[in-house]
Structure formats: C-alpha cells, structure tokens
Amino acid sequence: MPLKPEDLATVATLAKLDIPANQTERLRQDIEQILTFVEQMNAQDTADIKPLGSPLERPQRLRADQVTETDQREALQSVTRHTEQGLYLVPKVIE
C-alpha cells in the first residue's frame, strides 16, 4: 500500500515523534512494507473466528491486596535530571 510523505508526517505528529529529514524516506518505505503485510492479514476471512484476548490459554494470575513496595523515590529519581519538591518536571502541558 503506497504511503505518501505527508501521511508519514501526520503519523509522526500523532506519535509525538521528531523524525530527522535524512531518515524519512527509509521509514516511509519500511512502513509501506508493513502495510503490505497488514493487507495480507486483512485479506483473511475471520468471520467465524472468536476474538482472542491472549494466545496463551491460561487465565490471569491474581495477587493478594497487600502493600509490598516501599518508598524508592530517591533511587527512581536518580535517573532523571528534572525534579523539584519530589515532583518530576516536564514541559508544561495543560489540557
């Protein structure tokens, strides 16, 4: 399935990705190939097949409702540079 450069730009925007100009053509071709593969899957008749929640035929394991985690804030925040008053700082986003 042909993919236009503009479509790639739209998908990148939706995925919040910033793609360097020298990589766009390679990516466009990769995605085109992926879409061709998807077309093959879409061509299959699945009318009689029940939707599958998981390919593993076993149910979900449950855990008891117990607090097992301790405060690891210091360790977890050591891998980020931008924290203040215990909060992670990110570029301002208001919805």
Binding site: R58, L62, V67, E69, L87, Y88
Partner: protein, 481 residues
C-alpha cells in the same frame, strides 16, 4: 419548541484497596509526592502488571448490588494516549469485555415515584497521576502517587432526563458504593468523579441530538449546576437555529458555565487493543454467588425495613438509610432509647445541625450514639425538658462524657415535683396580680395567648428547670380555678 433533555453519566469510583490495581504500591491519599509510585507505576522497562484480586472482588460486589450480568471472562485493553501523568503512554482499561455488564438502579423522583436507570457497564481500569501546573518556572510538576489506583468506571444508559435526576442517580450510586465498602466515596479527594453527557432533542423525537461531554465534575452540586448551564447553552443555540458541536467541555464553577476543551476532530484515537502483559480474567458462578451471598443490606432494603420496623415515614426512612454510617448510628440510638421516632428526630434534627455547623461527616461525629440514646431516655422519663436536653447535647458534643454525669454536675434535672412547681407558680401569680385579673376577665381566645406570659415567668423563676407541660397544666388549673 419543547425540548427533551438526555443525560448519561460516566462515574469513576476509586476502589478502596490497600495497594494499586497492578502493583504493590500503597494507595493512601495525601502522601508526599512520588513516595507511593513504584517501578511498575512509573513504567520502567521490563516491569509487568499483576492484577489485584481485591479490585476484582469489589467490581463483582458492585455488579451483584446492581443486579448486573457479570462476565465470566473479562479482558484488559490498552487505551493509548499521550500525557505526562500517564508514564506508559497507555492506560490499562477494559473495552469489549468489562467485568460488569448490564445492570440497573432505582432513583426516587421529586414527585415520590421511582425510576429505573439502566447501567450499561462497569469496567476496571487504572487511574493516572496528577499534574501540577503552578510555580514550576513554566514547567509542570508530576506526582505519580495516584497512577495505578484502581478505578471502577460506571456507565449509565442515556436515561436521565434532568439535572435533578442526574444528581439523584449519582447520590444513589454514592450510597451503594459506600454501603458496599468498595470506596470511601469522598468526592473532595477525587474518590468519585463524574463525566456528564448532555444532549437535547425535540420532544417526541426518537433520534438523539448531538451530545457534549462535561469532564471531571467533582461534587453533587457542581453536577447539577454544570448540567443546567450546559442545557441552557445548548437550548439557546438550538432555539437560534444553530447546531451543537460534538466536543468535550469543562465546567467552570466560578463563572457557572461550561467551556470547550477539545472538539471531536481533536479527540484522541485511543487505538485500543488487548494488553499482552495481562491474560483474560476468568471467574465462575461459585465465585460470583459467594460474593452475592455476602452482600450487606443495601439502601433500598434498609429504607423499607426502617419504615416497617420503626414506623417511620418514607421520607425519614429514606434520609436515614441514605448513608450506611448514619443508618448504623440511628439504629444504635434507637436500641438505647427504645423510641424510633424521637431517635429519628434527634438524628435528623439536632445532630444533623451540629454536624453541618462543624462541616463533619457522621463518621467523625464526636458524640457516641449510645449517649444520644441515653439523652433521649432522659427526655422520656421527664428528667430533662427538650430545651434542657439541647443544653446537655451541647456539653456532650463539646466535652464528651456521660449524660447522667452531666445532668448531675450541672444540676440540669427538670423539676417535676408538683408541689415545687405549685410553689413557684403561686409566687409568680402573687407578683403579677393585675395580669391575673386581666386573664380572668378575658375570653378563651385571648386567654390562649395570655397564658404564654405566665408560662414564661414561671420558667424564668425556675431557671428553666420546670417541666413545661406540668407548668401549663398547673397554671390553667390555678388561673381558671
């Protein structure tokens, strides 16, 4: 044109589990930022979610309480969107196979009738973190303590027809989840949040009009006001021949209006798909029946029992049964006082007044129910007049202690000794000879008003301790001789 209002509510209820839905981090409200956000909640690479059995149990409990179909297999899906307080880039939720399917609850309307409201589904999902936008030099601060807290999202059918009905539905839901003990229902802390879908259609038309969704309304009062202002806005547009844009709106309580947040075109495409990190959840009939058999008495059943067992009016029974704590409190008062009507009056009257003044929930009531029961006993055996009982109530409220000790210490015993009352009255009559003469000369209609003067004087002379009924009777006897 006459318009019909169509409202459907999506209510997020925070489940009262000790740990999160997919991790062992604590869910306690108000902890220091990010001290309850573990590697799973932060979406560190390689972390896997493991489902909390208590969250499942609570969802099924709710399903049983609203007489819903419970799915034997439920599947977790990923709902994809980008926001900094959602570290994984997706929320784990349920789309096509929620734990709880169709159910219903009944609401009481203002005209005294009941209306059944359908519940489409109730699905389990995780909450996101919190973003703080102030005071961070143009940046946002992210607290992920709330990320992963279990939520039950309860979706109603679009069967509510006014803001009032929506609030009744929400109150009923609140009452049920708190009765079940699956949530503390504290709206001020976000334990219950509501999205309201509102549309209008010409009366008699079957097809729905275009709807808007008001996001995250967090109090009963705001739900009513937000819906009312949105109805008014839509009606103005439609009456002017315009059309409604499908969009998400926010309610601004300060301006009492809703404003646009994002339109349908800007809406997220959530790209739902089954979460490969989680397997389908299987439950059998025995599991469901076991939970059903352990359901507590629910508000509707309790209301009926209160009316029958205690002879209360439907209204009083409904008010008392609305919250489990209040119903339990009332029953304890009743057990001690053996007088349901007087108990109901005190719980709904004086007690409610003091709770309101202190902005307290009944669960934080400083006055033990046994003491209120005892206070009512002392009214019944004539130790206290109701006025004195209010004084004792105030002392109990402020300082605690025992009813009888307070009566003793403050000398608040009511004088019921008739010779003592007669002596006081004789003195009052002797000191007010001219009023006595006027009374005796007056006709019945005037006497009815004039007796108040003598009752007042007698109560004053007895420093409020004389039994008012006795004072009245003795006065009439002596004056009319």
């Amino acid at each position: 044109m006459q318009w019909e209002v169509v409202i459907g509510l999506e209510v997020h209820v925070q489940l009262a589990t000790a740990s999160k839905i997919f991790s062992g981090a604590a869910t306690t409200f108000g902890a220091a930022p990010n001290t309850q956000a573990c590697a799973v909640d932060l979406a560190m690479p390689g972390m896997l979610p493991v489902f909390n059995e208590e969250a499942l149990r609570m969802a099924v409990r709710f399903g049983c309480a609203i007489d819903a179909r419970i799915n034997h297999e439920s599947v977790f899906d990923r709902k994809n969107y980008f926001y900094p307080d959602l570290p994984k880039g997706y929320q784990i939720s349920q789309l096509d196979h929620p734990t709880v399917a169709e159910g219903h609850l009944d609401i009481d309307l203002e005209d005294g009738t009941r209306k059944r409201i359908g519940i489409t589904r109730a699905h389990l999902e995780e909450d996101a973190g919190k973003s703080l936008h102030e005071d961070f030099h143009g940046q946002s601060g992210i607290d992920l303590n709330r990320a992963g807290t279990p939520l039950l999202e309860i979706v109603s059918e679009p069967e509510l027809r006014s803001a009032r009905e929506a609030v009744s539905y929400l109150r009923k839901l609140h009452s049920i989840v708190t009765y079940l003990g699956i949530s503390d229902g504290d709206m001020s802390q976000g334990s219950m949040r509501c999205d309201c879908n509102v549309s209008l259609r010409p009366l008699g038309q079957e097809e729905f009009g275009t709807r808007t969704e008001i996001k995250n309304v967090n109090s009963f009062r705001f739900v009513e006001k937000a819906i009312e202002s949105e109805i008014e806005r839509q009606m103005d547009i439609l009456e002017d021949g315009g059309s409604i844009t499908q969009e998400t709106r926010l309610y601004d309580p300060d301006k009492d209006e809703t404003r646009s947040m994002r339109s349908k075109e800007q809406a997220n495409d959530y790209r739902y798909f089954p979460d490969p990190d989680l397997l389908p959840v299987h439950i059998d009939d025995a599991y469901i029946e076991d939970i059903r058999s352990q359901l507590p008495e629910l508000p509707d059943a309790k209301k009926i029992r209160f009316a029958q067992e205690y002879g209360l009016s439907d209204y009083d029974a409904g008010v008392l049964a609305a919250s489990r704590e209040q119903a339990d409190y009332f029953e304890t008062v009743c057990e001690t006082s053996k007088d349901p009507k007087l108990s109901a009056n005190w719980v709904m009257g004086e007690l409610a007044k003091w709770l309101n003044q202190g902005d307290l929930d009944i669960s934080a009531c400083p006055l033990p129910a046994e003491q209120l029961g005892k206070l009512i006993l002392r009214i019944k055996d004539n130790t206290l007049s109701s006025k004195m009982a209010k004084q004792v109530f105030e002392l109990l409220w402020q300082d605690g202690g025992d009813v009888d000790d307070i009566i003793e210490a403050k000398g608040l015993k009511q004088v019921t000794d008739s010779s003592a009352i007669e002596a006081i009255i004789d003195e009052v009559l002797a000191n007010n000879a001219s009023q006595v003469e006027q009374y005796r000369a007056a006709d019945d209609a005037k006497r009815g008003k004039m007796i108040g003067f003598f009752v007042g004087q007698t109560m004053k002379a007895s420093k409020g301790s004389a039994n008012p009924q006795q004072v009245n009777a003795v006065l009439r006897k002596k004056l009319e001789g």
